[in-house]
């Protein structure tokens, strides 16, 4: 044992620790672009990973199918009860849509925060040590993906793009503990829309926290929360979830609401990235968009 810590080894160990701390602190900084060697590694590993994830998706697909077969009866009953309601709602939606289009034409407004280009992508990996909530998808810069774009499934918002390489990108889910992760949101269902920020995630309740709501405003449980599009990067109207509880925040000045996410974060498979048509600006969805110059 004594020769384990001989001089040479001790120095090597010390150098290693110093290098380690330097590297960790370098990579812990908020980076919005990845260095070239990292890009190469990411793309190479991503290519290999997508080969392995394809059969896995097949297997999970089979499980999903079996699962939905087992629930068919219950689901069918529920769906039938909703069907009549659906027909009226759909008629109303079509009517409102055409009216909206006419009115927009009348005013001469062409761009809308709601419009976006959907980019379809497949999840090729999920961070196996699930400390950070991250997934890797198989579309990157060449498909038009940029940092901070919204990522969603058919059921609702799941996260945003954090790092982009040529052929793959990393998505941080909204269930992250990262304190710098904000999404500007609004609550629907009142007389007028109520604005707030999705900030933080309660891991015990598995619910998001909607903060900075005006204390005067009354909120009810069951109201829907969607993205507001005012954060600068996300399009408007992506479903985030439903309010389950309203409370006063820690300073007593604003309200805080617990929001149950509409999307399911387990077994993610196909996702859609929203490339907003309206030009992106700096805002709360995240700090900078000006990485085009760098």
């Amino acid at each position: 044992m004594p020769q384990f810590f001989s001089n040479k080894r001790l120095i090597l160990l010390l150098l290693g620790v110093i290098l380690l701390v330097a590297l960790i602190s370098f990579s812990l900084r908020d980076r919005d672009n990845v260095s070239l060697p990292e890009q190469i590694i990411k793309d190479a590993v991503g290519a290999g990973q997508s080969v392995f994830s394809r059969p896995a998706h097949f297997v999970t697909g089979v499980f999903d199918n079996v699962d939905s077969l087992l629930n068919t009866y219950e689901e069918n009953k529920y769906l039938k009860s909703r069907l009549e309601e659906f027909a009226t709602v759909q008629a109303e939606v079509t009517d409102l849509r055409s009216e909206n289009a006419e009115l927009k034409e009348l005013v001469g407004k062409e761009e809308d925060l709601r419009d976006y280009n959907p980019i379809q992508a497949t999840v090729i990996a999920r961070n196996p040590d699930q400390w950070e909530e991250k997934i890797v998808i198989n579309k990157g810069e060449t498909s038009g993906v940029k940092p901070n774009m919204a990522v969603m499934t058919a059921r609702g918002l799941i996260g945003k793009v954090t790092l982009v390489t040529k052929l793959s990108s990393t998505v941080e889910l909204i269930s992250t503990q990262n304190p710098n992760y904000r999404v500007s949101a609004m609550v629907l269902g009142g007389d007028k829309a109520v604005f707030g920020l999705i900030e933080g995630y309660d891991a015990d309740r598995r619910e998001l926290l909607l903060k900075r709501i005006d204390a005067e405003i009354e909120l009810k449980e069951g109201q829907k929360v969607v993205s507001s599009g005012l954060g600068g990067i996300f399009p408007k109207g992506i479903v985030i979830g439903e309010i389950t509880e309203v409370a006063i925040d820690e300073f007593g000045l604003t309200k805080l609401a617990y929001v149950k996410p509409a999307a399911d974060f387990t077994l993610l498979n196909h996702v859609v990235i929203a490339d907003r048509l309206t030009p992106e600006v700096d805002g709360e969805d995240n700090g900078e968009t000006g990485d085009g110059e760098s």
């Binding site: 701390v21 330097a22 370098f26 990579s27 290999g48 392995f52 999970t60």
Partner: protein
């Protein structure tokens, strides 16, 4: 041919980990259980015990670096911990008898230790805010159960491949001097 088998198995395990990660977290009775696949490090510990600690360290450094860059974007975390675990395994096994059962137990203990160090690290930088009790119950326990299952099924296969490579190296006189460095 066996020469290339060890890195190849390492590579396959590296790619399999996130695939199994897609199934986690598991939901049972409203509680969520996280299962973290740790196939690669268990294999590397086996390599370290039965073949060559130094070689295991290099593999650990390589795969750790890939892991850091691709998944967690904190360079230096896994690429330090993987080789470190291999070194500990190599030094521990010098003083004890190496049979499959003891190696399996050693591997599991080291994997649990590895998991715990990661938990401490992520708590330190503020990415995890989990009380230690919740960590033990919902993460460490299911993870260790799943990984020990994996090891009990495939441990003997790992050993036979690694031992075959070890014997092959011993039998090739030209290479042994070079590799023995």
């Amino acid at each position: 041919m066996i020469r290339y088998l060890i890195p190849l198995i390492g590579l396959v395990l590296f790619f399999l980990e996130p695939v199994f990660g897609l199934f986690s977290p598991l939901q049972m009775n409203g509680d969520f259980y996280y299962i973290v696949p740790r196939f690669l490090i268990m294999f590397l510990i086996f390599v370290s015990v039965y073949y060559d600690t130094k070689r295991a360290m290099y593999y650990g450094l390589f795969f750790g670096l890939l892991y850091d860059v691709f998944f967690i974007d904190i360079i230096g975390l896994y690429s330090f911990l993987y080789p470190a675990v291999c070194v500990i395994a190599g030094y521990t096994v010098k003083s004890i008898h190496r049979n499959l059962f003891i190696t399996t137990v050693l591997t599991l203990v080291l994997t649990a230790l590895f998991e715990f160090v990661l938990f401490q690290f992520f708590s330190l930088i503020g990415l995890a805010s989990m009380p230690i009790k919740a960590f033990l119950g919902t993460r460490l326990l299911p993870t260790m159960i799943a990984n020990s299952l994996f090891l009990f099924i495939l441990g003997w296969a790992f050993r036979s491949v690694i031992v075959a490579r070890f014997i092959e190296r011993q039998n090739s006189p030209g290479m042994s001097g070079y590799n023995g460095q």
